[in-house]
């Protein structure tokens, strides 16, 4: 296809006009802009205006772009809720396994320590998508427990697939949190005849958990965004539904508004988490 310079009715092909600024000054402004808190407002405005701009360029016979987006928004919204459900389930499974793995790394038993370390390193340094495929195709579609046949649906396997990297990252957060508590705490607990388990449970973990919460929340936000990966392995999530809607509408001018809508869903959910994480980080940074 030949690129159309002007007079195109496709918004995606219209040339972008940059303000006539010297290159360096423009760059500085751009950086300053994205560093500012106004970026949030701007992204919302940008998404909304892209919908409006596309609506303006719309042909008279078809329904307006804004209406079309509104029509599909609830369906894509349910898909998004499914993504959230997957993210919560993966986070729970990953956190549970990760805490065990993290504690395993500080075990007094050398084999436990070694296995935990290897597992953590392996799953932490693997691409999430590959781990997802790994879980999808290596887990059986049904398992036999005694006389019962339990089928493993795709969404279940996806939860496991996403929980694997979460587990490894949680393990590192737990290990790091525990190691951040001064050794003097272990020493004084030991000299007061606390057992190792008691020391961990009553003295070390209560102090360490505070420091684990911000990175844990950060990880959760990353996981939520990564749940769209499951669309690649054929699970109907928000991403799949967006694509389906676009295929059904078969109008190229809808691409930008539809994907903007999807981005908005995620942004509206993840951005508050990121702000809260920052606040907690600042608060816990001062106190021991």
């Amino acid at each position: 296809m030949k690129p159309v310079a002007n007079g195109s009715d496709l918004p995606v092909l219209l040339p972008i006009r940059l303000p006539a600024l010297p290159a360096s000054e423009f760059g500085d402004r751009l950086v300053a802009f994205f560093a500012s808190r106004r970026a949030f407002v701007a992204i919302v405005v940008l998404a909304a205006s892209s919908v409006a701009a596309a609506a303006a360029a719309d042909a008279p016979m078809r329904p307006g772009i804004f209406e079309t987006v509104l029509k599909w928004a609830p369906l894509i919204g349910t898909g998004f809720l499914f993504n959230l459900a997957i993210s919560v389930a993966s986070m729970m499974v990953g956190t549970l396994a990760g805490v065990l793995l993290g504690l395993g790394q500080i075990s007094l038993l050398r084999p436990v320590r070694a296995i935990s370390w290897v597992a953590t390193q392996f799953f932490r340094n693997s691409p999430w998508l590959v781990l997802l495929f790994f879980a999808m195709f290596l887990l059986p579609f049904e398992i036999r427990i005694g006389g019962f046949v339990v089928s493993l649906p795709a969404w279940f396997k996806a939860i496991i697939g996403l929980a694997l990297p979460v587990m490894a990252n949680v393990a590192e957060i737990v290990r790091g949190g525990i190691n951040s508590v001064p050794v003097g705490q272990w020493e004084s607990a030991e000299s007061l005849a606390f057992s190792r388990m008691q020391t961990l449970w009553r003295i070390i973990l209560p102090q360490a958990v505070k420091r684990m919460i911000p990175p844990w929340m950060n990880l959760y936000a990353i996981l939520t965004m990564a749940t769209t990966l499951i669309s690649v392995v054929g699970i109907q999530d928000a991403m799949t539904l967006t694509r389906g809607a676009l295929v059904a509408e078969a109008r190229t001018e809808l691409y930008l508004p539809f994907y903007s809508l999807l981005l908005l869903y995620f942004f509206a959910y993840c951005y508050p988490i990121a702000r809260l994480t920052q606040r907690l980080e600042r608060r816990y940074a001062v106190k021991l």
């Binding site: 004084s188 000299s191 009553r202 102090q207």
Partner: protein
């Protein structure tokens, strides 16, 4: 001090501690009797702290024997719980539990380790805080206490386990002169009541006043020891005299 001394409580017999090729403690023997207050002095890196930590098995020794109230410490089958109920230790850096109040710090070990009744533990903890003159601070978190106050809570916390021997590891080294006094006062009272104490300290004046016996260590060995009057007036050893000239 004027009280009667009882039978030997801590008997250290020719212990040695090595970290790889480095010898930290060499052929150290000393005996502490019930009610006695012993001070260990000496230059930094002479192994004083290691010696103290060896007594409650925080640092395992390589050779020799340490007996605390009949329990052999240098034993692979050592019952650490039994040993640590007998030995309290206070550290230079206080090491209070920052997520618990002063009172809770004192209560934790009797409550969770000795599994004593909560009401009894609380009553005793309050008495101990009163003893170190911190009753009004019982609900304060360690982060809001001064160094001297934290150190006194740490002393009360150790006493809550009703130990036979108290170890003090340079407990005033991190304190300013004012708050130092409060802590030394608490230790002096304890010694006067007949608590068996072993102190590692740089406070020569305090050592001279409170100790029944003084040990001078250098290079991981006991160079010289004796009652304070004799020790400070006529040190026999060249190294002891050089050290005392520097610090006095």
């Amino acid at each position: 001090m004027t009280h009667e001394l009882g039978e030997p409580v801590v008997v250290i017999d020719r212990i040695e501690k090595r970290f790889g090729a480095l010898v930290v403690l060499k052929d150290i023997s000393l005996t502490v009797r019930r009610g006695e207050c012993v001070c260990i002095i000496g230059p930094s890196g002479s192994g004083k702290s290691t010696l103290l930590r060896a007594i409650n098995a925080l640092v395992p020794v390589s050779k020799g024997s340490i007996k605390v109230d009949g329990i052999e410490v240098n034993d692979p089958d050592l019952d650490k719980l039994a040993l640590r109920r007998k030995v309290g230790i206070v550290f230079q850096q206080y090491n209070l539990f920052p997520h618990r109040t002063a009172l809770e710090n004192v209560m934790m070990a009797p409550l969770h380790v000795l599994k004593q009744q909560k009401a009894d533990v609380e009553e005793r903890a309050k008495r101990l805080l009163a003893k170190v003159r911190l009753s009004e601070k019982q609900d304060t978190y360690p982060g809001e206490l001064s160094g001297g106050q934290q150190q006194r809570v740490a002393i009360a916390r150790s006493l809550a386990m009703s130990p036979t021997v108290m170890l003090f590891d340079e407990v005033t080294a991190a304190l300013d002169p004012e708050t130092k006094k409060e802590v030394l006062f608490a230790i002096r009272e304890l010694a006067a009541e007949g608590m068996t104490c072993i102190l590692v300290t740089h406070e020569m004046g305090f050592a001279a006043e409170v100790a029944d016996h003084i040990y001078f260590t250098d290079g991981g060995m006991i160079v010289e020891h004796g009652p304070p009057g004799e020790f400070f007036k006529n040190a026999r050893h060249e190294r002891t005299r050089a050290f005392l000239d520097q610090v006095l």
